[in-house]
């Protein structure tokens, strides 16, 4: 793999690491489009870190049962696995407001870390059972509180209508 291919990967890792240890300064020097694809990557990491056992069980089911039912089991497992990140992103949009929502994927970094830790506890033999949902809600809620604390460090972006209005004003002012 060439060095140029690794650049976006190392930039993303530096960004996620920075968000965990120095979130305000990381956000302050983050270009607006720098984290444009983070939602997909962090969603994939969430599935791998927190829900991979369920997805593997669904794949085993699909191979065992075959047909449409088997494929449906995999789709259902992936859908279940992605519920938490999707709900967290929607809640992050709400917490940040429209002008700052372009940074909502930031919330997924602590969600991935927290839920991977919860899954490690399960692998170590702590049977969470029904308490797993309490842990999931706890991790998501803590991540949203963290994001609310960071809200002021995210520069608001003007909406497209505001940008359009300001460009019209500029044209009118020019001779």
């Amino acid at each position: 793999m060439s060095g140029s291919c690794l650049m976006p990967v190392s930039a993303a890792l530096e960004r996620w690491g920075g968000l965990l240890i120095a979130p305000r300064s990381t956000l302050a020097r983050l270009a607006p489009e720098a984290d444009a694809h983070d939602g997909w990557w962090l969603g994939a990491l969430y599935v791998l870190g927190a829900e991979f056992d369920d997805v593997l069980a669904a794949i085993a089911t699909a191979i065992g049962l075959g047909g449409f039912g088997g494929a449906f089991a995999v789709v259902l497992a992936l859908g279940r696995a992605l519920i938490v990140p999707i709900v967290a992103l929607a809640a992050a949009d709400f917490v940040l407001g429209r002008a700052r929502a372009y940074r909502s994927t930031v919330v997924l970094v602590p969600v991935v870390l927290g839920m991977t830790c919860v899954h490690v506890a399960e692998q170590l033999g702590f049977a969470l059972g029904g308490a797993r949902w309490v842990a999931v809600v706890g991790v998501a809620a803590a991540s949203l509180v963290w994001l609310a604390w960071l809200r002021s460090a995210i520069a608001p972006q003007p909406s497209p209508s505001e940008v359009a209005a300001s460009s019209v004003e500029t044209q009118e002012e020019s001779p």
Partner: protein
């Protein structure tokens, strides 16, 4: 800068390590993941009937059998039970048995489960034979999402397994295929 990259790499490495453990555990017990698949013999199980008797799976041999596993709180089960009830009437008089096995017996005392299922039967005017599993069938068949439907051939082998809601026409096709196979074998 190095610290930030280091923490990011540690996060990625941690996730990959956790996923690798999941993969390794899954590979070790791959055959036990998911429900008991078609081709396996039906485990010897006993269900409690609403009349207070025991229904052994061995007693179902000699007929094509449809076992639908369900709970009273599952909306998809309600819809599937209505279909199974209609199919049971459609195949009445033929060598086909239908049993709708409620899975809530594993979570409450049997008399309470009987009362719950009897009330459900009356409320939904079901005529299909109902039974209650105390948890053994759910474990033996590794039942996950419900409704869970198992179609057995006359020899007692599992021929079809459906996870989730199965359409009436799919079940009918399963039954007719097994009836044809049985008729061909007997010639």
């Amino acid at each position: 800068m190095k610290w930030r990259l280091g923490v990011g790499v540690a996060l990625l490495a941690g996730v990959v390590a956790v996923a690798s453990i999941d993969l390794s555990l899954a590979v070790q017990r791959w055959d036990e993941l998911g429900p008991v698949p078609p081709g396996e013999p039906m485990p010897a199980l006993s269900f409690a009937t609403l009349e207070g008797e025991a229904l052994d799976t061995a007693a179902l041999r000699g007929r094509v059998t449809v076992l639908t596993f369900w709970t009273t709180w599952c909306p998809a089960c309600r819809s599937e039970l209505a279909d199974v009830d209609a199919l049971a009437r459609e195949f009445e008089g033929e060598d086909v048995a239908f049993v709708a096995v409620n899975l809530e017996g594993g979570q409450m005392p049997l008399p309470r489960a009987r009362e719950l299922v009897a009330n459900y039967r009356d409320e939904h005017a079901l005529t299909v034979p109902l039974a209650i599993d105390g948890g053994a069938a759910a474990r033996a068949l590794r039942i996950g999402p419900i409704p869970h439907t198992v179609v057995l051939d006359a020899a007692g082998a599992i021929r079809r397994v459906h996870q989730g809601r199965v359409l009436s026409r799919t079940l009918r096709a399963d039954i007719e295929r097994l009836q044809t196979t049985a008729a061909t074998d007997s010639r």
